[in-house]
Symmetry: C2
Subunit: 164 residues, 2 copies
């Protein structure tokens, strides 16, 4: 984690930005929640635990900055809020998402499933692909089991990672 922050710090410096305490706290929160898909508000509340004086505007500005540096990806699952997803280091493509329409959970697929498809699109549509967004909406494995068992109660986790 330290090394990762260090690399981000260098990245910031290389464009003459600083890694201020607020920015560092924000990055830490993102690292600690790599699996989640936090909204700006979510990040704000979590950062506040480390740095209570921080303002929401600073969080927005930091996330915007990290997005420009391609440290995070801004994603949108159609529920009206932007979510921020830390880029995996070394990943040469943006990962995919599985959004459950029952429980709102979001799982990630790290594998690159689009290699073939992208070759087709580049060739047949003459479109030079720079990035992609692939999201499946459906029923996650947990909810499928729930339904099989006719057990409709929700063994709930944190709400934060949920798309309403």
């Amino acid at each position: 984690m330290e090394q990762r922050i260090d690399r981000i710090k260098k990245q910031l410096h290389s464009q003459s930005y600083k890694l201020t305490p607020q920015r560092e706290a924000t990055v830490k929160v993102l690292l600690e929640h790599e699996e989640d898909h936090l909204s700006a508000e979510d990040v704000y509340l979590l950062v506040k635990e480390k740095a209570p004086e921080i303002g929401l505007a600073t969080v927005y500005r930091t996330l915007e900055l990290l997005n420009e540096l391609e440290v995070v990806d801004k994603i949108n699952f159609g529920d009206g809020v932007s979510r921020y997803d830390l880029r995996k280091e070394g990943a040469d493509h943006f990962h995919h998402h599985l959004v459950c329409i029952e429980c709102g959970s979001v799982d990630e697929i790290q594998e690159d499933l689009l290699g073939d498809v992208e070759r087709v699109v580049e060739k047949d549509w003459n479109f030079k692909i720079k990035d992609h967004r692939l999201t499946f909406h459906g029923i996650c494995h947990r909810c499928q089991n729930k339904e099989d068992k006719h057990n409709k109660t929700e063994p709930e986790e944190k709400e934060m990672n949920k798309v309403k």
Copy 2:
């Protein structure tokens, strides 16, 4: 077009909704702009030409309704506005999009490129897919040509279809 409106009318009636003049005007606008990706505001302005008394709220309510009936799909290209895309009749999957990061144009891919990918996801992730969203961001064929020719001027079309 008439038949299409008729089918939508029946669909509305089957759930005891009415095809009011305002709703019909909205549907017509959507049909006339099938290739575009209009925002609610865009639709509103176009509907106003046919039915000047219509209110923006009615347009929002109609689009919401049509979305529920699966006549339109609500999509989001990350620029802060929802866009509404008429479903192709008979299409068994939601089409894909090519968003140009140069000129903001949005092209559609009607072919189903995800058949294989979906089978993998359903099997390996045990995820029951109901819908998908696939968008590629990159350089469209028009802008590639522009760059080749070192001709940076924009032979512009309507702004409406553009993602800023």
